[in-house]
C-alpha cells in the first residue's frame, strides 16, 4: 500500500513546492494591489522559454541560471510599469482585464517566437539525476524542491518582518493611501513586490520544467491558476498560507492522479474509473468549497466591507 502511494506523495510534495513559489507572487501582489495578476503564470512560462533560448545560444549554465532569474524579475517589473501602473486609479476590474490582456500578449508573443512548438528544457546536471528514496525512483529536483522552497520562504518572511522595505510592504497592504501619506514611495514598493514575485516564479520555473522537460506557450496557464487557488486556499495575502495551500493542493492533485491505481491495488474498485481526469478539476472544486465555507482561507484575516 505504502509503496503505491509513496511515489505520488513524493511528486505531490515536489509540485507543491513549485506551486508555492508561484503562489507567493500571487499572494504578495494581491495583498498590496488587490489584483489577481493573471499574467503571473505566463511570467513563469516565459522564464522557462528564456532558459531554453539562453542555453541554446551556448551560454554556460552557471551564467544562464542567474541570468534567467534576473530577466524574469525584470519582466515582472516591466509588466507592472507598462500595464498596471497607468491604471492605478482605475476600477479594480480594469486592472484585472489588463492582466488578462498581458497574459494573452505574452502567450501570443511566445507562440510567435517558438512557432508554437514544444521546446525541450535544457537538462541541468545534478538536479536532473535520478535518485531512489525508500524504494521510489525520482529526479533529484523532487527532493530538493521542498527544502529550497522552505528556505526561500524563510528568507522572504525575514525580509518582510525585519527590514525597512518589508515594513513598507506591510504598511501598503494594510492601507494604500495612509502609507502614501506617511512618506512611503508606493510605486517602488509595488515594483519590488513584482520583482520578488517574479524572481520566485523564475526559481519555480527552473524546478518545474526540469521535472516536466517541455515548455509551450500555454504551459504557464494551469500551474498559474493552481498556484492562485493555493494562495486563496491559504488565505490570500498570507505567505505561510500560500505555501501550506500549495503543498496541500500539490499533494492532493497527485494522489488523485494515482487514485485509480491506489484504489485498485487496495481492492476497493474492480476496474479503473478514469478518475485522473479530475486532478485539475479537484483543485477548483476545493477552491469553490473553501470560498463558501471560509472565504478568507486558512490563515487569512477577516475583512469587512465599508459602505
Amino acid at each position: 500500500m505504502w509503496s503505491t502511494v509513496f511515489p505520488y506523495l513524493l511528486s505531490g510534495i515536489s509540485v507543491g513546492g513549485q506551486y508555492a513559489l508561484i503562489a507567493i507572487g500571487y499572494t504578495m501582489v494581491y495583498g498590496i494591489l488587490r489584483l489577481i495578476n493573471f499574467a503571473h503564470g505566463d511570467v513563469f512560462m516565459v522564464s522557462g522559454i528564456i532558459m531554453v533560448y539562453l542555453c541554446a545560444s551556448g551560454i554556460p549554465l552557471y551564467i544562464c541560471i542567474p541570468l534567467v532569474l534576473v530577466l524574469t524579475a525584470f519582466i515582472g517589473f516591466l509588466i507592472e510599469r507598462a500595464a498596471y501602473k497607468p491604471l492605478r486609479s482605475a476600477p479594480r476590474m480594469s486592472v484585472m482585464i489588463s492582466a488578462i490582456g498581458v497574459s494573452y500578449t505574452l502567450q501570443n508573443l511566445v507562440l510567435y517566437i517558438t512557432g508554437g512548438l514544444n521546446q525541450i528544457y535544457p537538462t541541468i546536471p545534478w538536479i536532473s539525476n535520478s535518485v531512489t528514496i525508500l524504494g521510489a525512483t525520482t529526479k533529484m529536483v523532487t527532493v530538493i524542491t521542498p527544502f529550497l522552497t522552505i528556505f526561500l520562504v524563510f528568507v522572504l518572511v525575514f525580509l518582510i518582518n525585519r527590514t525597512k522595505i518589508g515594513m513598507a510592504m506591510r504598511a501598503v497592504s494594510k492601507d494604500f493611501e495612509t502609507s502614501q501619506l506617511m512618506g512611503i514611495k508606493i510605486n517602488s514598493v509595488i515594483s519590488i513586490t513584482f520583482v520578488i514575485g517574479s524572481f520566485l516564479a523564475g526559481v519555480g520555473s527552473i524546478l518545474y520544467f526540469t521535472n516536466y522537460t517541455t515548455v509551450i506557450q500555454t504551459s504557464g496557464a494551469m500551474p498559474g491558476l493552481k498556484a492562485f487557488v493555493a494562495a486563496v486556499f491559504g488565505g490570500i495575502g498570507s505567505i505561510p498560507g500560500a505555501v501550506v495551500g500549495a503543498f496541500i493542493i500539490g499533494i492532493m492533485e497527485n494522489i488523485i492522479k494515482g487514485l485509480d491505481v491506489i484504489l485498485f491495488k487496495a481492492g476497493l474498485i474492480a476496474k479503473p474509473l478514469g478518475l485522473a481526469t479530475f486532478s485539475d478539476a479537484f483543485t477548483f472544486a476545493l477552491l469553490i468549497i473553501i470560498l463558501i465555507v471560509k472565504p478568507t482561507g486558512l490563515f487569512g484575516e477577516k475583512t469587512t466591507d465599508k459602505v
Binding site: L109, Y112, F278, A281
Partner: protein
C-alpha cells in the same frame, strides 16, 4: 411604446436603427445568394454572429449587472454538448459513439428544440452553481466561475460518462449551418440560408436581451451594478436578481455554444478553455463594457481581424524586392494583442463606451441638453 413617448426623445433614432439593422440583414441575404459560399466573408459573418451572441450574454452579466463572471466557456460547452447530443441523427449514432456502443441517448429532436434545450441546460447548471458562487464578491467570483468552467470541462471528458458525452472523443455528424440551405431534389442548393439563419438566431436572442435590459429587471440589474448596497436599500432582492441575471446570461451563452458547435461542425470538450472566455471578455472590453451594440460590433471586428484582415501578417510579404521583416506564422496574434493592450490601457471605454446604436443617430447638440 409609452416609455418612448414619455421620454420626450425623438423616435427617429430608434426607427433609423431598426432600418439599418434590417438593411444589413437584407444585404447579408443577398450577398449569400450571389457570392461564392466559400468566401472568407461568410466564415467571418457566421463566427461573428456566434461570438456576438456570446459577447452580449457576457456583457449582460459583466456590463449590466456588474457580476464579473469568467465561466462563459463552461456554459458554452454545456450548450454545445446538449445541442450535439440531441441532434445527431439516429443512424449516425453508432458511428459517432463507436467506443460506447452507440451511446445512451437514442432519439433526436429538431434543431430549434435542441437550441432551446442547449440554453436551458446551461441555465440550469448556472442556477445550481449560482446558489453558492454568487454570494462571492468581484474577483473571488471571477476565479470561482473560472474554476467552475474547468470542472465542467473535466466532467465532460470523463470516460464513465462516455455513453452520453462520448468521453474525450469528439461529437460530430449533427446538423450544422450548411444544413440550413434549401436544396432541391437533385441536392443542389436553391436558396442559401447558411449565413442568414445564424444571423436570425443570434438576432432574436440579442433582441430578447435588449428587451430584458430595458425592462424593470434590467433597471434593477443596473442598480445592482452601480451600487449593491444602495440597490438593496431600494428594495431590490440582490440574491434573486443576481441569480436571474446569471441564469439568463448562461442561457444565451448556451445557445451561443450550440451555434459554435454548428459553426465548427464538431465539438470537443478540450477546446472550451479559459482562453476562450478571455477572448470573449476582450471582445466585450473592446466594444465597451455596458454597450450591446459595442459587443456586436467588436465581435465582428475581432473575428474579421483574427480570421481574415490580419492574415497577411502571417505570411511572407514582398514589397518589390524587399522582404518585409518579422512576418511569419503567429505575428498576426502579436499585433492583435498589442492592439488589445492599447485599447485596454488607453481607450478604456472601448469603441462604444455605453452608447447604443440609436445614440449614434442623435445629434451631438441634443446630447448636451439630455
Amino acid at each position: 411604446m409609452k416609455q418612448f413617448v414619455s421620454d420626450r426623445k425623438s423616435r427617429t433614432p430608434a426607427i433609423l436603427s431598426f432600418a439599418v439593422i434590417a438593411l444589413f440583414y437584407v444585404l447579408v441575404f443577398i450577398a449569400e445568394q450571389h457570392l461564392p459560399s466559400t468566401s472568407m466573408l461568410f466564415t467571418v459573418l457566421k463566427k461573428g454572429a456566434t461570438y456576438a451572441l456570446v459577447a452580449v450574454s457576457m456583457n449582460l452579466l459583466n456590463g449590466f449587472t456588474g457580476i464579473f463572471s469568467l465561466g462563459q466557456a463552461g456554459f458554452m460547452l454545456i450548450g454545445a454538448y446538449t445541442y450535439a447530443i440531441f441532434t445527431i441523427p439516429l443512424d449516425q449514432r453508432a458511428a459517432v459513439y463507436q467506443y460506447f456502443q452507440g451511446g445512451a441517448v437514442q432519439f433526436s429532436v429538431p434543431v430549434p428544440v435542441a437550441l432551446i434545450f442547449a440554453g436551458l441546460a446551461a441555465a440550469f447548471f448556472a442556477f445550481l452553481i449560482g446558489l453558492p458562487v454568487l454570494r462571492l464578491k468581484s474577483d473571488y467570483l471571477a476565479i470561482a466561475t473560472l474554476g467552475f468552467a474547468e470542472i465542467i470541462r473535466a466532467i465532460f471528458q470523463w470516460n464513465q460518462l462516455g455513453p452520453i458525452t462520448n468521453g474525450s472523443n469528439m461529437l460530430r455528424m449533427f446538423p450544422n449551418f450548411n444544413d440550413f440551405n434549401i436544396r432541391n431534389d437533385a441536392g443542389e442548393v436553391t436558396v442559401y440560408l447558411s449565413t442568414t439563419i445564424p444571423f436570425v438566431i443570434s438576432g432574436v436572442c440579442i433582441a430578447l436581451i435588449v428587451l430584458l435590459i430595458h425592462s424593470g429587471y434590467g433597471r434593477a440589474f443596473k442598480a445592482i451594478r452601480d451600487d449593491e448596497i444602495a440597490a438593496e436599500a431600494m428594495g431590490i432582492n440582490l440574491a434573486h436578481h443576481k441569480q436571474l441575471a446569471f441564469s439568463i446570461s448562461s442561457f444565451f451563452a448556451g445557445v451561443g455554444g450550440a451555434m459554435l458547435a454548428m459553426y465548427q461542425t464538431t465539438v470537443q470538450a478540450k477546446s472550451f478553455t479559459s482562453a476562450m472566455t478571455y477572448e470573449i471578455l476582450l471582445i466585450v472590453v473592446i466594444g465597451g463594457v455596458g454597450s450591446v451594440t459595442g459587443s456586436v460590433f467588436s465581435s465582428f471586428l475581432f473575428v474579421a481581424c483574427s480570421e481574415w484582415w490580419l492574415r497577411f501578417l502571417d505570411e511572407k510579404q514582398m514589397i518589390g524586392t524587399f522582404e518585409v521583416p518579422l512576418l511569419r506564422n503567429g505575428f498576426r496574434l502579436v499585433v492583435f494583442s498589442v492592439i488589445i493592450m492599447i485599447v485596454v490601457l488607453f481607450f478604456r471605454r472601448g469603441i462604444m463606451g455605453t452608447k447604443e446604436l440609436p445614440d449614434l443617430f442623435r445629434r451631438k447638440t441634443k446630447e448636451g441638453i439630455k
